[in-house]
């Protein structure tokens, strides 16, 4: 029973990290209509930055903050390439973000090499109802809760957040009232970078990260985001937690080598069921 609880809590921590990646995808997709393939890259950039800065002797907190900001800048640059040019279709933008992800490989290998890197996190563990859980996992869960609350406040209560929602809700009307939709798209990309970066600095102490970790991260994030049809943050969070727990349980009970297949299989099933429910997703491929 306590093993089950341990797996559950660990799984929630893993799910929280996925949720942060996925929320970045959702923010960007809502405002720009683009699925950002480079979302996992932001996490990798932040994780590698944090490990370097900590290695240089910078204190905790400052290192992670700088790393997350670096990821936000990466997000902004990705946005410039993907939606900066007027008339780029969402599918072209997807291919551009794919290109950005590959370009990041080159930059990351030059800066950090091609071996996985780790970073120290919160040491120690606590015992909850007979289950041992690492402090770092608790930190991940806490930070994710705060991040989602902050996102809800930002989009629900602030003028800027409402302007971003307005761009998602009716881009033409946003232009009518004078909102620069392109600039809002860039802001969404920066915010996506921030969220991805947050995931990166939290994950790196749990499992080492290397330049090509982005594929697993983005696929998991996308899988969670499709639960919420790429637009609904709360269902995305639920999807991410489900994925995290399912994967951790699978690993815990001896199916560790099939973790990825479980996530991917779930994603495929959800997508196909959703497509069956709405046969005409209003997306023309041109």
């Amino acid at each position: 029973m306590s093993a089950f609880l341990t797996y559950l809590l660990n799984g929630l921590a893993v799910g929280c990290a996925i949720a942060l990646i996925a929320s970045g995808l959702v923010v960007i997709h809502r405002v720009t209509g683009v699925v950002n393939f480079a979302q996992g890259t932001f996490a990798v950039v932040a994780g590698l930055c944090a490990s370097s800065l900590l290695g240089l002797g910078l204190p905790h907190g400052a290192s992670e903050l700088a790393a997350v900001l670096a990821a936000a800048v990466a997000g902004l640059l990705t946005g410039l390439a993907a939606v900066g040019r007027p008339g780029t279709t969402p599918l072209s933008s997807l291919i551009v973000t794919l290109g950005v992800g590959v370009l990041a490989y080159a930059v990351e290998i030059v800066l950090w090499g091609d071996q996985p890197r780790s970073a120290p996190g919160l040491a120690g563990s606590v015992t909850v109802a007979g289950a041992r859980i690492q402090t770092q996992h608790l930190l991940v869960i806490a930070v994710t809760a705060v991040a989602f609350a902050a996102l809800a406040l930002f989009f629900g209560r602030t003028y800027l957040g409402k302007a971003l929602t307005a761009c998602a809700s009716n881009p033409y009307a946003a232009r009518v009232v004078g909102i620069d939709v392109r600039r809002m798209g860039l802001l969404a990309f920066a915010l996506g970078g921030l969220l991805g970066g947050l995931a990166g600095v939290l994950v790196t102490p749990m499992r080492p990260i290397s330049f090509d970790s982005d594929v697993t991260l983005i696929v998991n994030g996308f899988a969670a985001a499709v639960f919420g049809a790429l637009t609904r943050p709360v269902i995305t969070l639920a999807g991410a937690l489900l994925l995290g727990v399912a994967e951790t349980m699978a690993a815990g009970y001896g199916y560790g080598s099939h973790q990825l297949e479980i996530a991917l299989g779930l994603m495929l099933v959800v997508m196909i069921v959703q497509a069956g429910r709405r046969p005409a997703i209003s997306q023309e491929p041109t």
């Binding site: 040019r85 370009l103 490989y105 696929v219 990825l260 994603m267 495929l268 997703i281």
Partner: protein, 323 residues
């Protein structure tokens, strides 16, 4: 049209003559280029005609390679293995395509990527595929009394395979369903409302593109003598998209030109990166950077690709000459 009547036989003759004069390392590039072009023709057909992005074309390539390798290793004639490779890849595409093609746009892109990741993971774990080590000691290709001894033989085999792929594609495009497919790429809804069986056509194009990839995979496994999950990374699928986009989607020659341009560029940079004094990571870094920058630049600034852009240039100049 005039240009085509001269240029196509000329290109065919030159490429057919090349293997006789190239050295072994150049021949290796020739084979890789030809195999990449075979897969890219299919990707270009899928993206340009059916309007679908597949991030999992490497999976079909892998299915073809593993099929041919397994049959050959179990004592069946290599020719049979090579023929089975495209059939198995197409059959696999039909099976996964039925559910997957209900998805569109980025959903389909991610679903095909997921398909490839699942397949790679399975190939790395199952016994009959040899796990992470893969399948070794695949016999060389042979048919009747002929046995492929050196690289030159594989160069000719690749040439023949590519010629077949291009011929089939040309006929498909020129056929009535092919012209209906054009409509599919621009607007699926419009195509559906004008009575085109959209679903069946998309599935057929996916299967055809998979068959091309499978055939290339079949040749590849005999050429290298081994296959492993590491031979078919996700990046290889992205590479085919880069080639198709660079050349120009939905054009046969675009796919070939794109494959040639990218292969030669990467090979050239590879030579540069392997010069003494270059850091050990240089080859990987340079090829990633090239794929990425070329892809981004072409999508943003040359969305129709190289071949249509060149064609437009030529047709703009021609009236000036006759004046």
């Amino acid at each position: 049209m005039m240009l085509g009547r001269v240029a196509v036989p000329l290109a065919a003759a030159v490429t057919l003559a090349l293997p006789a004069v190239l050295d072994d390392s150049a021949l290796a590039v020739y084979v890789l280029l030809g195999l990449a072009a075979m897969v890219t023709v299919g990707v270009s057909l899928l993206m340009g005609y059916a309007g679908q992005v597949s991030l999992g074309q490497g999976a079909f390539y892998g299915v073809g390679a593993y099929t041919a390798a397994l049959l050959a290793l179990n004592g069946l004639p290599p020719l049979l293995g090579l023929l089975a490779a495209p059939v198995a890849a197409a059959a696999f595409a039909l099976v996964v395509g039925l559910p997957l093609l209900r998805l569109r746009g980025h959903h389909l892109a991610f679903a095909t990527l997921a398909m490839q990741l699942i397949l790679l993971s399975l190939a790395g774990q199952l016994d009959f595929t040899g796990g992470d080590i893969g399948l070794q000691a695949i016999p060389p290709f042979s048919a009747w009394s002929f046995e492929a001894g050196g690289v030159t033989a594989y160069a000719y085999l690749t040439w023949a395979g590519l010629a077949l792929v291009m011929l089939v594609t040309r006929n498909v495009i020129a056929s009535r369903p092919g012209r209906a497919l054009r409509a599919l790429a621009t607007s699926e809804t419009a195509a559906a409302s004008s009575g085109i069986p959209v679903g069946r056509y998309k599935l057929a194009v996916l299967a055809l593109s998979a068959a091309f990839a499978g055939l290339a995979g079949g040749i590849y496994c005999f050429y290298t003598g081994y296959v492993a999950p590491g031979s078919f990374p996700v990046l290889i699928s992205i590479q085919y998209i880069v080639m198709a986009v660079v050349g120009g989607l939905g054009t046969i020659w675009g796919a070939v030109v794109g494959a040639a341009a990218i292969t030669l560029l990467v090979q050239g940079l590879d030579r540069l990166a392997n010069l003494p004094g270059m850091p050990s990571y240089a080859p990987g870094v340079l090829s990633y950077a090239v794929y990425a920058l070329v892809l981004i630049a072409v999508v943003l600034f040359l969305p129709n690709g190289l071949v249509p852009a060149i064609r437009r240039l030529l047709s703009r100049e021609r009236p000036a000459k006759t004046r």
